[in-house]
């Protein structure tokens, strides 16, 4: 017996909370991937990242209402198109923002922080004006509703499984882009040594713009996934931005694997603890643990072993 629970009940609780944690993990990973690309690769702290995610969520919402009103037969599959559109919208906005704002601020991290924070407020207000202050939700197609029973007491929701599979695919694609494509090679060269990257013939400005756009685009996809597990409001993005920063810093900004490992640790810790104490208490404990570990390993969980 543990408290009021039997061992088997306790095991089930851990399993269910663990699974709930996995969904949180998926959103964290998608959010953190975008943020890590932008922060780790370009040194820009994008405070508006949550709003890019919400843009993706709103695009998904628009898609779902549009499809169910005009071509209901297509409804079961609308989500895939919505995801692509969410990526495109966030990517385009990201490129625009980079061109109009970020590129003038590369050497001034503090100003970037303020500027993107301002941008996040502007975007929130825009969402409020366009979509209203009330939270909106998308209706899921039938095949995503329900859950699979694993044992008598443990069941896993299908939409959660779907979000996880999606996260897996996108992480793989990002990995291939960064480490197996020519474009990724250019990005990594610019990150390592901007001046020298230019001197071997890489158009560093264009690379920056595309990198920023990609990071934002992934946030858009995260927003798409987010609509399945929460409802979307103008400020929904804000709740995720701090956690996501935590994930990125904890993981070691330049490492994809570190980002994933740290998203996993943090989401599992939070979700498991949330069952036994209040949500904010769980958050405080997670934060304390992360700060403690970062004091011992300021470079984050993962780093490359090379001479510099």
């Amino acid at each position: 017996m543990i408290g009021d629970y039997t061992y088997s009940e306790f095991g089930s609780i851990l399993a269910m909370q663990g699974f709930a944690g996995l969904i949180l993990f998926s959103v964290f990973v998608l959010m953190a991937l975008g943020l890590a690309i932008i922060f780790g690769q370009m040194g820009v702290i994008n405070m508006a990242h949550g709003e890019f995610m919400i843009l993706g969520a709103y695009v998904t919402y628009l898609c779902s209402t549009f499809v169910s009103a005009t071509i209901p037969a297509f409804f079961p599959y609308y989500f895939f198109v919505a995801m692509i559109l969410a990526f495109c919208a966030a990517f385009a906005l990201g490129v625009l923002v980079e061109w109009a704002m970020i590129r003038h601020l590369y050497k001034r991290p503090l100003d970037t922080l303020l500027a993107t924070w301002g941008l996040s407020l502007v975007l929130q207000q825009t969402y409020r004006t366009v979509f209203g202050a009330r939270e909106v939700g998308v209706s899921l197609p039938d095949w995503l509703i329900g859950s699979l029973p694993v044992t008598d007491v443990v069941e896993v929701p299908i939409n959660g499984l779907f979000v996880m599979a999606l996260t897996f695919v996108i992480t793989a694609v990002v990995y291939l882009l960064m480490y197996r494509s020519n474009w990724g090679k250019r990005v990594r060269a610019v990150v390592q040594n901007r001046t020298m990257a230019g001197a071997v013939g890489i158009n560093t400005r264009m690379t920056d713009r595309m990198t920023f756009g990609l990071g934002c685009g992934i946030a858009g996809i995260a927003g798409s996934a987010f609509t399945m597990i929460g409802s979307t409001g103008p400020t929904s993005g804000q709740q995720y931005i701090v956690d996501t920063f935590l994930v990125v810093v904890f993981g070691g900004a330049a490492s994809l694997l570190g980002t994933i490992a740290s998203a996993f640790t943090i989401s599992q810790a939070q979700s498991t603890m949330e069952f036994f104490m209040s949500g904010s208490m769980a958050k405080v404990l997670t934060l304390l643990a992360v700060v403690g570990i970062l004091m011992l390993r300021p470079q984050g969980l993962f780093t490359l072993k090379i001479r510099r």
Binding site: T195, G198, I202, N203, L304, R307, R308
Partner: protein
């Protein structure tokens, strides 16, 4: 192949190169010598565009490049091996060379580059940062050659390299020039290396050419006096 006219380069108020003129013929190797702090690196950086000149013109094969950005100058045929090499240390040897291919639109490293530097072929999967200084120097040259340059700029390639390898490097650079017909501008402090590889030697002091002579018939004693004051 490269023509530099009335080049002025300064850092803020301090003028490092007041008025530089330089003509480099196709296939010529020019060594620019000078003591520490005389402006060799500054000249190289302004040629490739990392630190743009405040006045003057630079043209490569007849095209004016002095208003272009660094990567555009590489497109026009300049390539740069910086002092201290600046290879991308977390990227593999092969990836490092591939970054140089960007302006050519190719994706595979041509075999003749590995032929010039066989050691790079053996180590192509290793991270650049884990190579020795001499190997990194070869890698930096290979990366620059990957963009198929008309003019190769080398800033003190012999720094921190042992004498026997320096001799070898002079041979390799001459071979590169013979095979590819490109021009090379190299900044140097080691006179023997400059004599081994250059066709013409310039000595600069405070950014101005104080002595100039073809390799043949050069007054070695005079040049080394300039370098040892």
């Amino acid at each position: 192949m490269m023509s530099v006219q009335n080049l002025r380069v300064s850092y803020g108020e301090s003028e490092i190169i007041p008025d530089m003129n330089l003509e480099v013929a196709p296939g010529e190797i020019v060594a620019i010598m000078g003591r520490n702090g005389m402006g060799k690196t500054t000249l190289m950086k302004s040629l490739i565009g990392i630190h743009p000149a405040s006045r003057g013109s630079i043209s490569v094969a007849g095209t004016d490049v002095s208003r272009l950005e660094t990567y555009q100058r590489v497109e026009k045929g300049l390539a740069y091996v910086p002092q201290g090499r600046a290879i991308f240390s977390t990227m593999t040897v092969r990836e490092n060379i591939e970054t140089g291919l960007t302006v050519t639109g190719r994706t595979k490293v041509p075999g003749d580059i590995y032929e010039l530097f066989p050691v790079l072929l053996d180590m192509k999967g290793r991270r650049g940062g884990n190579l020795s200084g001499g190997q990194q120097q070869q890698l930096a040259i290979a990366r620059a050659l990957a963009s198929n340059p008309k003019v190769l700029l080398l800033d003190e390639p012999t720094e921190g390299i042992q004498p026997s390898i320096i001799k070898e490097m002079a041979r390799t650079l001459r071979r590169i020039r013979d095979e590819r017909g490109l021009s090379i501008v190299v900044s140097e402090q080691v006179l023997s290396f400059a004599l081994d590889m250059a066709d013409r030697i310039l000595v600069i002091e405070k950014g101005e050419v104080v002595h100039e002579s073809p390799r043949d018939g050069i007054d070695e004693a005079k040049v080394s006096r300039f370098l040892s004051i």
